[in-house]
Each structure stands twice: as structure tokens, then as C-alpha cells.
């Protein structure tokens, strides 16, 4: 589902964005109105000055208080601008009250870490064995406040899902808190919004909001380890993948256990690869594995220089990571 650009200005889909969107429009409208009024007054002033002989008038003598109503316009102007300013202030305070701090009864807490140039996501449950990691695709149940603990993996990034909530920075050595609550099911695009290096623009993610049941199914599926390889090609593919790619990736249930790159245990359950750079289909996936630098120059995954046969075996194996 692709959405038109800036569509998050037309409607919000989450509790926090519900509070900030009308305020955004209000401030935008006020700003435009003020600009138009000021420009108009300026224009009238210029016209008047010209009609009275142009530059000569600007030499004019300073106004004395008893000389007329001229000065009172300053007071009137101040009083008039105080009204929208005050309205904005009060509205901003009210909106802030809605969006700050996670609600006291949050349904769920997840950890999100910004890395150059992808997002690590960690879920927890009642038991330590309920913990699992995924990347670039955050699933949440609808109607539930989800607390997002934000961590900085390397440099400062910023976590933003415009249709659901405002931005919060992810800062190395510090934990920031954001929270999300989606009103209806949908796939909402998120983006890093703090410049963080060459591939900052290709550091997107998706929030998949789904009914509680679907979310629970997803969560249970994510907890599974990778299936054992069933054919000679898959066995070779797995050996090669754990040996080579395991330097940076984990695939739970195999020897691949590094957390330098995204967890690949359920790679095929994701809609996109490389932080929404490519759609997840066999062609794009194979191209990415062989030459990530071609599609995302500077990404921290190096080109792999596999032979055709190796690439096909790796592809066949990772396609079993459903």
C-alpha cells in the first residue's frame, strides 16, 4: 500500500497525532493569515508613500504622542497579535498534555535502536524466552498504548511515524521514551529525521498496526527459530550463510548470532529490505545480498562477491526464513 506524500497532513491514525494535527493546521493557518495581513499593510504603506512623493516622506519628523492616533496602532497591533499567540499557547499546552509521557497503563513496551542506517526492534514478554529481535518493521496491536524505549546505536537518529506520533531522538548513551497508539489497522511509514550520515534518507521503517489476534499470531511466529534445512542445496546454503553472513547477522536456531546487522530469522515475513530501500522479493533480495553498495552506497553491509551458485544457495536458504 503506497500512500501519497505528505498524506499525514490530511488525517491522523493515532492518539498522539490526533492531538497535534489540528494544532499544526491552526498554526499554519494563523501564520499564513498574519503573513498576508502584514504584506497587505506594507503594500498599502508603500502605495501611500509613493502617492505622496516617494522617498521624501520617509524623511518625516518623529511622531509626538499628542500628534494623533499613529502611535496607538502599536498598542492595537500588540493586542491583536496577543490573541492568536495566546490561543496557540493554550492549545499547545493542551496538546502537549495529550502527547507527553507514556500513559500510566501501557499495554506493551518495546526497545527500538537506531543504527546507521536501519532500525533494530526488540520485543519482550513475561519470560526471558519471549524476547526476540526484528528489524525495520514494527508490529503493534491497535487500540493499545505501546511504549517505545529509544536507544542510539551509534550516532543520533530520530524516530518519527507522522501518522501516529511526533518525533523523538534516539541518542547514544541515553534512553528516550516515545509511545504509539494506532486507532485502526494499517501500515504507517516511519523515517529517521535526524541527519545521520550518507544513507539517512534510506533509513525508513514501517509500523504495522493490526488487531490484537493478528498481532498475537505474528508474535508467536516471530518467536520460532529458523527451520532446519531440508535439501542438499539448503544445507549448503545454510552452512555458507551462517559462516559468511553470521559475522554480522543472527538467525536464531543456527550458529549465526551477531547483532551487527538486522536479525534475519524471519526475514521473509517483512515487506521490505534494508530499511524500506527495496521491496522484499527474490530479485531485489538477491541483488541486495550480492551488491548492497549498488542500491544503498555507503551502507555498512559490504558487497558479498559471491559466485552465481553461492548466491543461489544463499537465496534459497534465506527464502526459508519465513
Amino acid at each position: 500500500m503506497t500512500r501519497p506524500p505528505l498524506d499525514y497532513l490530511l488525517g491522523s491514525d493515532g492518539v498522539r497525532a490526533d492531538a497535534t494535527l489540528p494544532l499544526t493546521w491552526f498554526t499554519l493557518a494563523i501564520s499564513i493569515i498574519v503573513c498576508v495581513i502584514i504584506a497587505w499593510l506594507l503594500w498599502v504603506g508603500v502605495r501611500r508613500a509613493r502617492a505622496n512623493g516617494g522617498a521624501a516622506e520617509t524623511v518625516g519628523t518623529p511622531l509626538e504622542p499628542e500628534q494623533g492616533r499613529g502611535l496607538s496602532w502599536i498598542t492595537i497591533g500588540l493586542a491583536v497579535s496577543a490573541v492568536p499567540l495566546l490561543a496557540t499557547l493554550i492549545w499547545t499546552m493542551a496538546a502537549l498534555g495529550h502527547v507527553v509521557g507514556p500513559p500510566r497503563r501501557s499495554g506493551m513496551t518495546i526497545d527500538v535502536t537506531g543504527h546507521q542506517w536501519w532500525w533494530e526492534v526488540e520485543y519482550h514478554g513475561a519470560n526471558p524466552s519471549d524476547t526476540f529481535a526484528t528489524a525495520n518493521e514494527i508490529h503493534i496491536p491497535i487500540g493499545t498504548p505501546v511504549v517505545v524505549r529509544l536507544h542510539g546505536g551509534d550516532v543520533i537518529h530520530s524516530f518519527w511515524v507522522p501518522a501516529l506520533a511526533g518525533k523523538t531522538d534516539t541518542i547514544p548513551g541515553q534512553q528516550n521514551i516515545a509511545w504509539l497508539q494506532a486507532d485502526r489497522p494499517g501500515i504507517y511509514r516511519g523515517q529517521c529525521t535526524e541527519f545521520c550520515g550518507v544513507e539517512h534518507a534510506k533509513m525508513g521503517f514501517e509500523v504495522v498496526a493490526q488487531p490484537a489476534n493478528d498481532f498475537e499470531h505474528w508474535r508467536e511466529a516471530q518467536l520460532q527459530t529458523a527451520p532446519p534445512p531440508a535439501t542438499p542445496q539448503l544445507i549448503h546454503g545454510m552452512q555458507f550463510t551462517t559462516f559468511r553472513c553470521g559475522l554480522c547477522h543472527s538467525i536464531r536456531g543456527t550458529d549465526a548470532a551477531s547483532h551487527y546487522g538486522p536479525d534475519l530469522t524471519h526475514l521473509m515475513s517483512r515487506r521490505t529490505i534494508a530499511a524500506t530501500t527495496l521491496p522484499n522479493n527474490p530479485g531485489a533480495l538477491a541483488g541486495w545480498i550480492q551488491a548492497p553498495q549498488g542500491m544503498k552506497p555507503g551502507t555498512l553491509m559490504p558487497d558479498q562477491h559471491l559466485s552465481g551458485a553461492e548466491l543461489n544457495d544463499v537465496l534459497a536458504y534465506v527464502e526459508t526464513l519465513k
Binding site: 530479485g283 531485489a284 538477491a286 551488491a291 542500491m295 559466485s307 552465481g308
Partner: protein, 111 residues
């Protein structure tokens, strides 16, 4: 307004779906872009396989098969059957999709 935009997009998509060239380009952008340079598809800047810039002029594809429409379609559908171990993988492309893509590629005659 919110309702209108998806409608407009749908209308746009409907216009496009009648245009086989637009469909072929969309397929190429999604399936082939990560490996090939393909003129007319902005995101197709892949460096895994050869550039397909003047593929219409080439005599031989993949260094082995005569470059004609049938072979091209077959290659796009089943590169592994034609040349096992090639770095170009099976991508689950259907015959109508492959035909669309091949017809687009066969118009690329400028290096």
C-alpha cells in the same frame, strides 16, 4: 479529501494498468532494479548483472542464447533452468509478466 486521494490514486493506477510499458517498468523497478541498469526505470541502477541499455541490439543473451523474443521471455522466467548457477535467480515471474518485460527490453536500442 482523505477519501478522494486513494480514489485518485486508484484512477491513476487504472490508467497505468492499461499501459503495458508502464506495467513492465513497474515490474522491472520491483524485481530487476537491484541487479541491472535499465534505461527508463529511474531506480534500476544495479551493478550485479550487465546493463540492459542496448539489449535490443545484442546478438546473444547471457553469452549463450540467441537474442530473440522467445529466448528472452524464457530467460526472464527461468534463468536457472537455462544456465544453472547463473547469478540471476529464479524470481517466480509469470509468463505474461515476462512477456511484458521482454517487450519493453526489446525497445532498448540506445547504448
Amino acid at each position: 479529501m482523505r477519501r478522494l486521494i486513494p480514489l485518485l490514486l486508484l484512477a491513476l493506477a487504472a490508467c497505468q494498468s492499461n499501459d503495458p510499458r508502464a506495467q513492465a517498468k513497474a515490474l522491472i523497478a520491483s524485481r530487476c532494479a537491484a541487479c541491472h541498469v535499465v534505461p527508463g526505470v529511474r531506480t534500476a541502477v544495479g551493478v550485479v548483472g550487465p546493463s540492459l541499455a542496448d539489449i535490443a541490439n545484442r546478438q546473444v543473451i547471457a553469452g549463450k542464447f540467441a537474442n530473440n523474443r522467445d529466448n528472452l521471455i524464457r530467460w526472464i522466467m527461468h534463468p536457472q533452468a537455462m544456465m544453472p548457477g547463473s547469478a540471476m535467480p529464479e524470481m517466480g515471474i509469470s509468463q505474461p509478466q515476462a512477456t511484458q518485460i521482454a517487450d519493453y527490453l526489446r525497445t532498448l536500442d540506445k547504448p
